[in-house]
C-alpha cells in the first residue's frame, strides 16, 4: 500500500492543540454546555441482585416541589428494540443485578433530583442470587467465541504429553480481581428531545456508535439522532453505550424540549457502566533443560452477566508470545447475577499477560536462566496462532534495549538478597504485546477552505489520547501541507462516521480514512484546489491484513522496594521500551505509554472491586475505597521505543499504543516484588497484607 514516505508533521513532538482549553478549564465536557432550562436526572438503583420489582411508590418523591416526573418500568416510554437486555432500561420489572436502574427522578434542580430519588420506595420480589466466581463451579461453559472474534479454545501439538515429559514443569494459578474503569469524568449524557430529533451531549468513545445504538434501540432514523462529544474526560473502554445513555434519552422523551442532564455519581460508576471481569488463570509451562518451552497451557475462568455475554479474551496473547512445541488455551465463563462486563484498557491482554509473564518469570528461575534470556530463547519465528509471518516483531530488541537502559546487567538472581535501610529491593521484567488493529467504518472528508487551509472532518474521538493533534499531523502529511493549515473537526455525528476509540485502533482506522480521502482529494483537485473543493473516502481494506500477524511488542522493567516491617510497596522507577511502528507524536506517545504503565502499577498494587456476595454489589464504591495511584505512588518513568519500519500495517506505519503500556507491567512489578522479598504473590493487588511476615 502507499504510505507516508516523507513524514514532516508525523513524528513531530507537537504540543496538544487542545492544551489551552484544557489548562484553563474552558474545554467543554458533556455536562458543561450552557443549556436552556435544563432538568436533572437521578436514578434509583435496585437493592436486590435478582428478582422483580413488585411495586414502586413514588408518592413521597412526587410530593417534593420541583420534581417533574418519576420514571418506572410501568410508565417509561417503550423502546423499539429490547433485544439487548443491558439497554432495555425500565421496560419490565426484571432485575438482573444489584444496582440496576429500577426508577429515575427528573427534577428542576440537582439537589431535588438526588433527594427525591432517595424517597422513592421500591418493593421487590427478590430471588436468590449468585455472584460467586470460583474455579470449581460445575456450570462453567465455553462461549462461542471470545472478544472480539477469537476462537474460545485453541490447541496445537499435544500439550498433555509434552507437559508430562518436560524436564522442568510449572503449574500455577494466578488470580486478578474485578476492576472498574473509573475515568475521571463520570459517564455523562445530556439528552434533548425536540420533535423527532434526539440530541445527546455525551461522554463517548465514539459518537457514531452511540448514534447507531440509540437509533436502533429507540427505533429512530439515524439522521434524527445527533451525538456530540468533542471533549471526553477519559473512557478506558467503558464509554461505549450502556444503560445510562438510554435512561437519559428515555427521560428526554418524557420532557420534550427540555435538556435532561445526567452525570453518574462516582458511587454509580461501580455498577452498570462496565468493568473488567475477575479472572482465575491456570498456567502450565513445560520446558527442556535448555529452557526451550515444549508445553504451554493457559486456562482461563472468568465471569459474565446472564443477560448479556462478554467473554474477555484473556488467553489470546499467549497464543502469539512464545514458541512452544505444544500450546493450548481455553476460556470458560460463569454466568452470574452481575452487571454486564465490558472493555477495560487492554481487555484480555492485561489480565492474561499478568499471568503468563509471572509464570515465565517463575519458569526462568526453575530453569536457572535469566528471565530475559529465557524469553529470548523462546522467541518465535512466525506467529504460531495463524502461521503467518509477523509484519514486524521486535520484542527481543525491546528486552535488550530495556535491559541496557534499566541497568539489568549484574542483577543477582537470588531473591531477598538486597536490603537498603528498611527496604528490600528487587527488579523484575515482563514482555508486553498488543494487536495492531484497524476497525472498519471510518470515513473522512477533506475540504479546501481557501488561503491554504484544509478542513478535515471525521467523527473520531479524543478521550485523552491526543487525537486533536495527532490526526491533524497525519492529515498534514497526507495532504503534503503543514499542520497549522489543518482545521480538524472530530467528535460529532454531523461529521462523517468513524469507528470508536477502542482497541488502540484510532490512528490506524481514522488515519487510514484521512489518508485515502487526501489521496482522492489530490487526485481530483490536484495541488492548487479552489475553495469548496472536497473529497470524502473510507479507508480501503488493507491488502496485507491476511498475510501477516500484526502486533506491537514491548518490554517493561520495574524496581520494587518493600518495607521489611510493613509490607508497603514502592515502585521508584520503571522502564518501558516499545516497538510500535512509526510514532506519530513523541510527546503524546510518551504520555500514552506512561499512562498505560501507570495503569499497570495500579493493577499490580491498588485496584480491586470488593464484592460482598451476600448483597451482590461492589462495597468499596468510591475513590476512598477503590484505590488508583496518587502522585506519590508514581516514580520515574523511562520510556523509549525502537525504530520499527512496518509498511504493512497502515499508510502511517503506526501501531496503536494506547493500551500496550498496561500489558505485562503488573507482572514486571510482581516479579520485582518476588525478587525483593522471596514472596511470590499470585493474586492481585499486591497489598502489604500479602507481604507481611
Amino acid at each position: 500500500m502507499s504510505t507516508i514516505t516523507a513524514p514532516r508533521a508525523v513524528g513531530a513532538s507537537l504540543d496538544r492543540r487542545d492544551g489551552p482549553e484544557k489548562v484553563t478549564g474552558t474545554a467543554r465536557y458533556a455536562y458543561e454546555y450552557r443549556f436552556e432550562n435544563p432538568l436533572y436526572l437521578f436514578p434509583v438503583p435496585s437493592e436486590v441482585a435478582r428478582g422483580r420489582v413488585a411495586s414502586v411508590d413514588a408518592s413521597r418523591a412526587e410530593a417534593l416541589r420541583g420534581v417533574v416526573a418519576v420514571l418506572t418500568h410501568e410508565n417509561a416510554p417503550r423502546l423499539a428494540d429490547t433485544s439487548d437486555r443491558e439497554l432495555a432500561v425500565l421496560q419490565d420489572g426484571d432485575i438482573a443485578f444489584r444496582g440496576q436502574y429500577v426508577a429515575a427522578v427528573i427534577a428542576e434542580t440537582l439537589e431535588t433530583a438526588r433527594h427525591a430519588a432517595s424517597l422513592v420506595r421500591v418493593s421487590y420480589e427478590p430471588a436468590p442470587h449468585d455472584v460467586d466466581l470460583r474455579a470449581d463451579r460445575d456450570d462453567l461453559y465455553a462461549p462461542e467465541r471470545v472478544n472480539p472474534v477469537y476462537p474460545t479454545d485453541t490447541e496445537a501439538g499435544d500439550f498433555e504429553s509434552e507437559f508430562s515429559s518436560a524436564a522442568v514443569q510449572l503449574d500455577q494459578t494466578y488470580v486478578t480481581p474485578m476492576e472498574h474503569n473509573n475515568p475521571m469524568e463520570p459517564h455523562t449524557t445530556v439528552a434533548l428531545c425536540d420533535g423527532s430529533d434526539l440530541t445527546l451531549y455525551e461522554s463517548a468513545q465514539g459518537v457514531t456508535s452511540v448514534r447507531q445504538t440509540l437509533a436502533r434501540v429507540f427505533g429512530l432514523d439515524r439522521d434524527r439522532v445527533r451525538v456530540v462529544a468533542p471533549y471526553v474526560g477519559g473512557g478506558f473502554g467503558s464509554k461505549t453505550t450502556h444503560a445510562n445513555t438510554v435512561l437519559a434519552a428515555l427521560a428526554a422523551q418524557v420532557v420534550p424540549g427540555r435538556p435532561v442532564k445526567f452525570a453518574l455519581t462516582r458511587q454509580q460508576m461501580f455498577c452498570g457502566v462496565g468493568y473488567r471481569t475477575p479472572t482465575i488463570q491456570r498456567v502450565r509451562l513445560g520446558a527442556g533443560q535448555d529452557g526451550r518451552l515444549t508445553a504451554v497451557s493457559h486456562d482461563v475462568i472468568e465471569q459474565t452477566a446472564k443477560i448479556k455475554e462478554f467473554a474477555e479474551q484473556t488467553a489470546v496473547a499467549t497464543r502469539t508470545m512464545y514458541a512452544a512445541a505444544s500450546l493450548r488455551t481455553t476460556h470458560r465463563l460463569a454466568a452470574l447475577d452481575v452487571p454486564v462486563a465490558s472493555w477495560m484498557r487492554a481487555p484480555g491482554e492485561a489480565p492474561g499477560m499478568y499471568a503468563l509473564e509471572s509464570a515465565m518469570d517463575e519458569m526462568a528461575a526453575a530453569c536457572g536462566l535469566d528471565p530475559i534470556e529465557f524469553r529470548i530463547r523462546n522467541e518465535p519465528e512466525t506467529d504460531q496462532e495463524t502461521g503467518r509471518p509477523y509484519s514486524s516483531r521486535n520484542l527481543v530488541a525491546c528486552l535488550r534495549e530495556g535491559a541496557r537502559r534499566f541497568g539489568w546487567a549484574g542483577r543477582g538472581a537470588r531473591p531477598r538478597a538486597r536490603l537498603d535501610g528498611r527496604w528490600l529491593v528487587g527488579t523484575g521484567v515482563a514482555s508486553s504485546t498488543f494487536p495492531a488493529l484497524r476497525l472498519p467504518g471510518s470515513v473522512a472528508r477533506i475540504s479546501y477552505a481557501g488561503e491554504g487551509r484544509y478542513i478535515v472532518e471525521t467523527a473520531a474521538a479524543d478521550i485523552g489520547t491526543g487525537t486533536w493533534t495527532t490526526l491533524a499531523q497525519i492529515a498534514a502529511d497526507a495532504l503534503g501541507t503543514s499542520v497549522e493549515d489543518i482545521d480538524l473537526r472530530i467528535g460529532d455525528t454531523t461529521l462523517p462516521e468513524a469507528s470508536i476509540a477502542g482497541g488502540s485502533s484510532g490512528m490506524a482506522s481514522w488515519g487510514s480514512a484521512i489518508f485515502e480521502a487526501a489521496r482522492v482529494f489530490r487526485g481530483r483537485h490536484g495541488h492548487d484546489p479552489s475553495a469548496g473543493d472536497r473529497a470524502e473516502a473510507a479507508a480501503p481494506d488493507n491488502p496485507d491484513a491476511g498475510k501477516f500477524a500484526m502486533h506491537a511488542f514491548g518490554a517493561c522493567f520495574a524496581e520494587a522496594r518493600v518495607d521489611v516491617d510493613t509490607g508497603e510497596v514502592r515502585i521508584p522507577r520503571m522502564t518501558g521500551v516499545f516497538a510500535a511502528g512509526r510514532i506519530i507524536n513523541p510527546k503524546t506517545a510518551r504520555s500514552q505509554f506512561m499512562g498505560g504503565m501507570t495503569w499497570g502499577l495500579s493493577m499490580a498494587l491498588h485496584e480491586e472491586s470488593l464484592v460482598d456476595a451476600r448483597f451482590g454489589h461492589v462495597v468499596n464504591h468510591d475513590f476512598a475505597g477503590y484505590h488508583i495511584p496518587t502522585h506519590a505512588d508514581a516514580g520515574q518513568f523511562d520510556i523509549a521505543w525502537v525504530d520499527e519500519d512496518d509498511p504493512y500495517v497502515n499508510p502511517m506505519g503506526s501501531k496503536g499504543i494506547g493500551e500496550i503500556g498496561i500489558v505485562g507491567t503488573a507482572a514486571a512489578i510482581a516479579n520485582a516484588v518476588y525478587h525483593a522479598t522471596g514472596i511470590r504473590v499470585r493474586d492481585l493487588p499486591i497489598t502489604p497484607a500479602k507481604l507481611l511476615r
Binding site: E47, E111, R114, H115, S118, Q267, R422, D565, T566, G567, E568, R570, L605, H606, L610, V611, D612, R614, F615, V619, N620, H621, D622, A624, G625, H627, P629, T630, H631, A632, D633, P685, T687, P688, A689, L692, R693
Partner: protein, 328 residues
C-alpha cells in the same frame, strides 16, 4: 440530601442554645465530613448551625508550657505551627499524613475529632448497619472487613475511627474543652470516643449540642521525641491500615516514660496502656519493645480479612520505639 435550615450563630453560647433546641440539628465547621455524609444520606440534619468562625482559630501558649488549640484551627495551620512541629512532632506528622492538602485547609480541629468511621457499610444506606440504624445488624462482621477493628470491637460493630490527629492527641494526653447546654467541661481525648459496646450509634461521649471549643496539649518533657507513622495501601491520600503515635524517653538504656496510641485498629484511637506499663522501667531494646507490643495485642480478635493488622501493629510499634530510642 434533605433540605435543611442554615443558621450562623453569633457566638458559642448562642450556637449551643440553638442546637439544644433543634434535636435534629448538627454543628457545621469545615464540612469535609458532614457534607460528605449528608450527600449519601447517612446523616440528615434538619438544621445546620455554622460554628466555623465562632471558636478560636488560634493556638495559644499556656502558662504550664502546653498549647491550647482553638477548635477552628485548620488541620493545615495546626500541622504547620512551629511550636507543634518542635514540641509535638507526632501531632504534626499525624495531621500531615491525613487526607490531602485541600482537605486539610478546610478541616478543623474540632471536626477532625468528630469525624465518623469510613466503614463501607456505614456509608451505604442499602446495607444493614447498627451504627446508622441500631438493631439492623453489622454487615462488616462477616463481610468485607480488611479495614476493620481488631481491638475493642463488639458483635454489634467492628468499625474503626479514621482520624490520624486523634491518635496523636490520644498518645500525647490531649484534653478536649467542651461547652454545652450544661456548661463547660473537659474530657481527655482518650475518653472522648467510645468503644461500640451495645450502642455503636454513639461515637463519642458528647451530648447533643455540646461543642468542642478547644483542645489542650499538656506539656510533656519528652514529647519532642515523638513520631507518627501510618501504613496505607498507597503512598498517600488514604486511610490507615494501622498507624502508631509514640513518644519515648530513654535514659541509660532504660525506658523512663513512653506513650503509645494506635490507629486503624479500633472504634477509637487505641491507647496502648498495657504496652506502656510493660515498657516503663524496662530495657530500651528490640525484644522488650516487641514483647510490649505482643502484650498489647494479646487480646486482638481478628476478623476474616484483617488478621494482617496484628503483625503489622506489632512491627510498627517495635520499629517506632527502636527509631525513637535511637533519636533520644
Amino acid at each position: 440530601m434533605r433540605s435543611f435550615r442554615y443558621y450562623r450563630a453569633g457566638d458559642v453560647p448562642g450556637a449551643v442554645a440553638t442546637l439544644a433546641r433543634e434535636r435534629a440539628g448538627a454543628f457545621l465547621a469545615g464540612g469535609t465530613n458532614l457534607v460528605d455524609l449528608m450527600k449519601v444520606g447517612v446523616t440528615e440534619p434538619e438544621v445546620l448551625v455554622d460554628v466555623r468562625r465562632l471558636t478560636s482559630a488560634e493556638i495559644e501558649d499556656l502558662p504550664d508550657g502546653g498549647l491550647r488549640i482553638g477548635a477552628a484551627v485548620t488541620n493545615s495551620d495546626l500541622a504547620a505551627d512551629r511550636r507543634v512541629r518542635h514540641r509535638y512532632p507526632a501531632l504534626s506528622q499525624a495531621l500531615l499524613s491525613g487526607a490531602s492538602g485541600q482537605l486539610r485547609n478546610l478541616a478543623t480541629t474540632g471536626g477532625n475529632l468528630l469525624q465518623r468511621t469510613r466503614c463501607v457499610y456505614f456509608y451505604d444506606t442499602t446495607t444493614p448497619c447498627n451504627k446508622r440504624e441500631p438493631g439492623t445488624g453489622c454487615s462488616a462482621l462477616d463481610g468485607r472487613n480488611k479495614d476493620h477493628a481488631i481491638l475493642g470491637a463488639s458483635p454489634h460493630c467492628v468499625a474503626t475511627h479514621p482520624s490520624d490527629m486523634a491518635v496523636a492527641m490520644t498518645a500525647l494526653g490531649a484534653v478536649a474543652r467542651i461547652q454545652g447546654p450544661g456548661g463547660e467541661r473537659q474530657i481527655p481525648v482518650a475518653e472522648l470516643h467510645r468503644l461500640p459496646g451495645q450502642e455503636p450509634q454513639r461515637d463519642t461521649t458528647l451530648e447533643h449540642a455540646e461543642l468542642i471549643t478547644a483542645v489542650d496539649l499538656p506539656p510533656l518533657p519528652f514529647s519532642p521525641n515523638s513520631r507518627y507513622r501510618k501504613v496505607r495501601e498507597r503512598a498517600s491520600y488514604a486511610f490507615a491500615l494501622v498507624s502508631v503515635a509514640a513518644a519515648l524517653q530513654v535514659r541509660d538504656g532504660v525506658v523512663r516514660d513512653v506513650r503509645i496510641a494506635l490507629g486503624g485498629v479500633a472504634h477509637r484511637p487505641w491507647r496502648a496502656w498495657k504496652a506502656e506499663d510493660a515498657l516503663r522501667g524496662g530495657p530500651a531494646a528490640e525484644d522488650s519493645f516487641r514483647a510490649a507490643a505482643d502484650a498489647e495485642l494479646a487480646e486482638a480478635e481478628p476478623l476474616r480479612e484483617n488478621g494482617y493488622k496484628v503483625p503489622l501493629a506489632r512491627n510498627l510499634i517495635t520499629r517506632m520505639l527502636l527509631e525513637l530510642s535511637e533519636e533520644r
